[in-house]
Amino acid sequence: MIIRVQPGLGIPIYLQIESQVKHAIAAGVLKLDDALPPVRRLATELRINPNTVARAYQNLERDGILRTVPGGGCYVNGQSPGLLKSEKLRRLKPLATQLAVEAKQLRLGREDLVQLLENSYDELNAKEPGEA
């Protein structure tokens, strides 16, 4: 898996790494028990401080997305994030608002927006080999 960061984007680099890992898992590029690149190697490849990579991995581990084996690296975790549904919804709310705002500005109807979202969701599921 290839992780890229854009330092000038106005999004914290640790968040850029987190969202790319989440995306790779959602798209089936990273599967259960796959190893992530070690902190040092990724930091060197990206030319960023290893502390920043470590922070991203720690956050993903906290959310149950990764697990760390002491001295043995970082792996994709089997369990879905152990969060309450209300918390999951709370996290997605800003993205939903942004999507709705953009759609409204483009004068895109409600049905079209829902359709678009359904398509994106189905595309991910098609790539995902029925995870338990």
Binding site: P7, G8, G10, P12, I13, T44, I48
Partner: protein, 301 residues
């Protein structure tokens, strides 16, 4: 042991009436890659020379690796690698310099020195002054890295280097230095490299820090907000750093809580046209740039 590799308190350096460093308050966390940014003449090199014990402060306090460089200069230099322009004896070759330097540093590693000769492709048989700028910088870096320093201070390390060499340097700095949890302090006005490698920034202007923050916090918090409306707030209110009134629209720079700020504007009947992120270059220009009649607040304060 302090959590800070470098700390200064109301540090001053005056040359006659010129205040090159004017009450500098700086905090460099251990293990950070700290980008020390400023225009030419902002006080970067003067600060670095004081931290390295090469110049005396006119006033104020400094701690470098928990030591005062004015009192424990040798101990500081034993543990600190310096890459500063024109510090080496220019008639010596790379091999001479390695032989000369290794005696001074208890933690010197010949293995590392040999490794960098190879990795950085440094010609070691030529006199220092006959090397290209890039090779001079690489040789300085070799000496600093092989000495086993806990802290590396680099003054404009990428000046005059081509993009490939810069990338090589950044790679070595992250791979062999930052990965060991050691501290890297680099001054520059090449913002794109700093923006990539650094996780902390300090922006100095006229001898004072205008901003010191974790770079990821700067990315998350600084926003430019474009608004149309009447009776809009002015710069200095809350998190508003700057307000620029144009024809019909007002452009704000806020340093935090952009969402709350735009919500407030909307509640006052204003229309928010755009909220956009700012890169380091844009933030630097806003902080340091001399707009007409809109001097940054910190300078007025």
């Amino acid at each position: 042991m302090s959590d800070l590799a470098i700390e200064t308190q109301s540090l001053h350096k005056h040359y006659g009436a010129v205040r090159a460093v004017d009450g500098l308050e700086m905090h460099v966390p251990r293990g950070s890659i700290y980008g020390f940014l400023g225009r030419n003449g902002a006080g970067k090199t003067t600060t670095i020379r004081m931290l390295a014990g090469l110049a005396h402060a006119t006033g104020g306090q400094m701690r470098v690796l928990d030591l005062d460089p004015q009192i424990n200069r040798i101990q500081v230099l034993e543990r600190t690698g310096l890459v500063i322009e024109k510090m080496l004896l220019s008639s010596m070759t790379g091999d001479d310099l390695v032989r000369f330097n290794r005696g001074f540093f208890p933690r010197w590693s010949d293995t590392l020195a040999r490794k960098y000769v190879e990795v950085l492709e440094i010609p070691m048989k030529r006199k220092f002054r006959k090397l290209s700028t890039g090779n001079q910088t690489k040789l300085c870096l070799l000496l600093a890295l092989a000495q086993g320093a806990e802290l590396l201070i680099l003054d404009e390390p990428t000046a005059g280097l081509d993009p490939i060499i810069i990338d090589q340097l950044l790679r070595v700095l992250v791979d062999d230095f930052a990965n060991e949890g050691r501290t890297l302090f680099l001054s520059s006005h090449h913002l794109s490299e700093v923006e990539r490698i650094a996780d902390w920034v300090g922006i100095i202007d006229r001898g004072k820090l205008l901003l010191e923050a974790r770079l990821d916090d700067v990315r998350a918090n600084f926003r430019s907000v474009c608004v149309v409306g009447e009776k809009l707030p002015v710069a200095g209110e809350g998190d508003v750093f700057r307000a620029r009134i144009g024809e019909g629209t007002t452009e704000y720079v806020v340093r935090a809580n952009a969402e709350a700020f735009t919500a407030h504007l909307r509640s006052q009947g204003a229309t928010v046209l755009d909220v956009s992120a700012m890169n380091l270059q844009e933030i630097f220009v806003e902080l340091v740039g001399k707009g007409e009649a809109d001097v940054p607040m910190e300078v007025l304060a």
